[in-house]
């Protein structure tokens, strides 16, 4: 019972969604809409589980004085502060709006900004010319980066006759070609493979061949 009911729900919902995609005739668009609505309802309801988990984990940490428990009051105060002001004063103005714009948005932007430094450190490691493939990656990355900035073509035009040639913007053209042809080809290959993986995984789940996502492997 515990296994077959979820499998049955998965099968029915999966088949409805497949039919909704291929068959525009009623009742499938309507049924597909219902399935999506149900997912939205379930997902919306589940947010309370997330909140309860968050509060329980951090209150437990404070109670037991677990390692690094000092961060937990910050989390709880932050959560209750935002939640309380939102409920009391509304979400589109007042203290909630102020705290969202002045605290949450800048902190998110700060995290995002860290990406620039991480890209630099990761690129430094990835672009080491340790073998011929890494050297090829290094060369292509160098050309793409040079093609993205005006100085690339300016360097090219320093070569006598280059500015008057048929390709005065050769570095930009090479950079664009790398992005448009080999890079796009590689990306499409990954996408086609992933799409087939998606279809195969979906079929495995719909037909109950893959069950471990339900908990257990039988």
């Amino acid at each position: 019972m515990r296994l077959y009911v979820p499998l049955g729900i998965t099968f029915i919902a999966g088949i409805i969604m497949i039919l909704e995609f291929f068959v525009p005739h009623d009742p499938f668009p309507t049924l597909g809409g219902h399935v999506k609505d149900w997912y939205t309802i379930v997902a919306s309801s589940a947010i309370f589980l997330g909140i309860l988990n968050l509060l329980r984990v951090h209150l437990k940490k404070i109670n037991l004085r677990s390692r690094n428990w000092q961060y937990s009051p910050v989390t709880i105060i932050g959560f209750l502060g935002m939640f309380g002001t939102g409920v009391a004063f509304g979400f589109t103005e007042g203290p909630f709006f102020f705290m969202f714009n002045e605290f949450v948005v800048p902190m998110g932007a700060t995290m995002f900004s860290l990406l620039a430094f991480f890209v630099a450190s990761a690129a430094f490691r990835a672009f080491r010319a340790s073998n011929w493939r890494a050297s090829l990656l290094l060369a292509s990355a160098f050309l793409v980066m040079l093609g993205r900035v005006p100085i690339g073509d300016l360097i090219w035009r320093l070569i006598p006759g280059a500015a008057e040639s048929a390709h005065p913007n050769l570095v930009t053209e090479i950079g664009e070609w790398i992005m448009r042809v080999p890079n796009m080809g590689g990306q499409r290959a990954i996408l086609i493979g992933a799409a087939m993986g998606v279809v195969a995984t979906s079929l495995r789940m719909i037909f109950g061949i893959e069950r471990s996502y339900l908990g257990g492997t039988d």
């Binding site: 525009p24 309507t30 997912y39 789940m205 492997t217």
Partner: protein, 390 residues
Amino acid sequence: MGRLGLFLVILIGPVPALAAGSAGPDQARPVADSFEAVDSPNDAGGVIELSWAMSPGSKLVDSMLVTRSKAGGPENVLSVVSPVSTSYRDTTVANGVRYSYALVPMLDGRRLAEVGPVAASASAQWIHSGRSGMLIITVILAAFILYFIRHGRKGGELYIRQIAGLSAVDDAVGRATEMGRPVLYIPGIMDMDNIQTIASTVILGRVAARTAEYGTPLMVPVSKSVVLSVAQEVVKEAYLEAGRPDAFQKDSISYLTDDQFGYAAGVDGIIVREKPAAIFLLGAFYAESLILAETGRSVGAIQIAGTAMPSQLPFFIAACDYTLIGEELFAASAYLSREPKLLGSLKGQDVAKLFFMVVIVLGVIASTVGQAWDPASEIAAFIRNLTHVE
């Protein structure tokens, strides 16, 4: 004579046009032409699409009425549209009923000569014509998968190439066990309606089985409440199956936040504080991928990443020890479990991929040869239509 004739044509030619221009609105040329009504394609019916083109040089009107009537019925004004509109969708029709439509230009509150009528009826379609190619592809793929599942169940030999990232799962958990540090599993930032998250929770079950077996702490911070529930259930079942229900800690699977960078900050904090020896980054990731992977690298963790997001793969490849690229993420469950029916489905997927690779190569050849030979061009067009999905 020739010059005189030309002179007369130039002289007389504009006269009718001038006459038309000075005539009343009812005598003016039609405001719109090419007016047609068609059943909206690929829908459940109930919609008729009207389209027209503005006549060049026609009188500029104030607005246009779209009128509709049934056979023998009264004329109803459906809508007043702008004079520059060229289409209208009637979504209030019943299937199978024939309706007549007309366009009535309005100028200074007067009705000018109407355009039309044209007639059409709405109907529902059983197959989406723009997706029939996809349907064929899905059927072929499903046929290969089902055949090889059957083959696997019968005990047929199924060779699956080695995937380094998946072979390293045991090593990563073992390393964490030896170092006495936890394993961190990050199932991406998307919800359970994303197939990558589903694939990730399947792998989580396999990883949890190993951590249960080795007695290694497992931490699973998630960013979606539904994923929290599923992950808790999957890990709990894995610990039960491993005979270690006592070792299962519900709070080790914790909800952080739905916010993308809030989640990244929370996971970074966990990585820096707990210093996990093995980190799994499997699922759907966006800009936070490199932030997480670089932080994991900074604490010396062995990292196994996998995603089907092409834009994030370079980051994982640069920062992680092993990366599952695209389809390998979806193959993980079968690869790790070694169950014949799952391996069969994987084999079927690979054979279907080979089939589609052949189709792609044929399409490229046909398209190239088709530049000089029409039959090849038609074959290329057929393959293009087959693979085009609306």
